[in-house]
Structure formats: structure tokens, C-alpha cells
Amino acid sequence: MIMVQAIVRPEKVYVVLKALLDGGFPAVTKMDVFGRGKQRGLKVGDITYDELSKEMLLIVVKNEDQAAVVNTILRAARTGDKGAFGDGKIFVLPVDESYTISVGTKDEEAP
């Protein structure tokens, strides 16, 4: 089981959520985050914005669905064909166990 953590542009988040739904991955958790990347934020004239608003999505899936989820997010979150600085990052973490609280038992496989 893996957790895909995707940090995407706020204006793209509903495009990504729709793409995930269409791709068969409805279960998602979304939170507001602030961050910067290796460009050290955004510089406009003399002013530097180094805490840029982003949305983080958490998606837990089976190992074999990793490529499908990552590719879905990549396609939906990219700006234009070539992409642009600030489109975000995707991290993939291992998950040992998962529980559905309403059932109260350990899940045999990812939700």
C-alpha cells in the first residue's frame, strides 16, 4: 500500500479531483498548505513571495495503482503542454496498515 502526496496549484485542484474521480480513485483528502520550491519562491520586482499557496492531496492506493494515480495527477496538474515552475510535486510514501473506522477492522488491501 502506498500514499501519494501531491502538492498542486490551488486553481488546478478541482481539475485534479475530477481527473482522479474519472480515473476510478474517488477517495482523497485535501488540505491547504504553503511552501516554496527550488526557485525560492516568486520574485516580482523587489518583492519576493516565498510562501506560495498550494493544495496538498493525500491518496492511499494499492502498490500496482501507483503509476495510474501519479500519471493522472501529472496530466491534470501540469500547466500547458510543457508545464511551468510552481506546478507542484508528487511524493510516494509506504503505508503499512489501513483501517476503515466504520467497519472497525484492518483493511485487507488499500481502499
Binding site: V28, T29, Y99, S102
Partner: protein
Amino acid sequence: MKQILAIIRPRKIKETKEALVKAGFSAFTGTKVLGRGRGNVDFRVLHAAEIGTEEAIARLGDGPLLISKRLMNIVVPDDKAGTIIQTIIDINKTGTAGDGKIFVLPVHETIRIRTGERDTNALQEQ
């Protein structure tokens, strides 16, 4: 060490905190999150909208696509994870869809910034 990510109903957070303190774990990080599971999507409406039924397309935005939840982030030693998970399930289980999920992730290292203590020492409660 394990990181326990519990996504629960917002109104259950107080009860869960109290139960965790009683079980001997007071430390956690909480975040307001929005989310959806399998149950919050009406696939009949979605399929009808894909075919092009106007009524269904109009209803697409009606449902609570993302529901407000609380994410509790708790880091514990391996042998304590089971107790915490059971405590969270006992408090939060109502048996209906939307009770939430618990994910358990491995943690490589923990450091208490104030003292520089590492791993299990850094997790010890005062």
C-alpha cells in the same frame, strides 16, 4: 516508530483527544482537512452526466463533493500503535460511511528539537 494518520469526523475530535490522554498519549498534531471517500460520490449521477443527461449535469455540483474532516497526526513507538488505533476506532466508530480512515506509515527518525533527543526518547511523555 509509526506515524498514525487518522481522518475522523470534526465533532469527534474532543472525545478522541480525551480518550487518547486516558490511554497515555497526549501528543498529536491536528489539521482541518476536506475529503471524500468512496461513499460520497453518486456514481449514477456521474454516469448520467457523462452520457449528457441535462438533469444530472445540473446536479453534479449539488452534492457535498468534499466533506470537512479532521486529520490527527500521531507518532508513536511500534508497540504502542495497536493501542492507539483501537482507541481511535472505539471512539469514532458509528458504523456508518464517513467515520473515516486510519493510515499507518513507517517513520525513520524522530528528534525533539528542544533537547536534541532522538527516536523513542524523543517520543517519551513527560
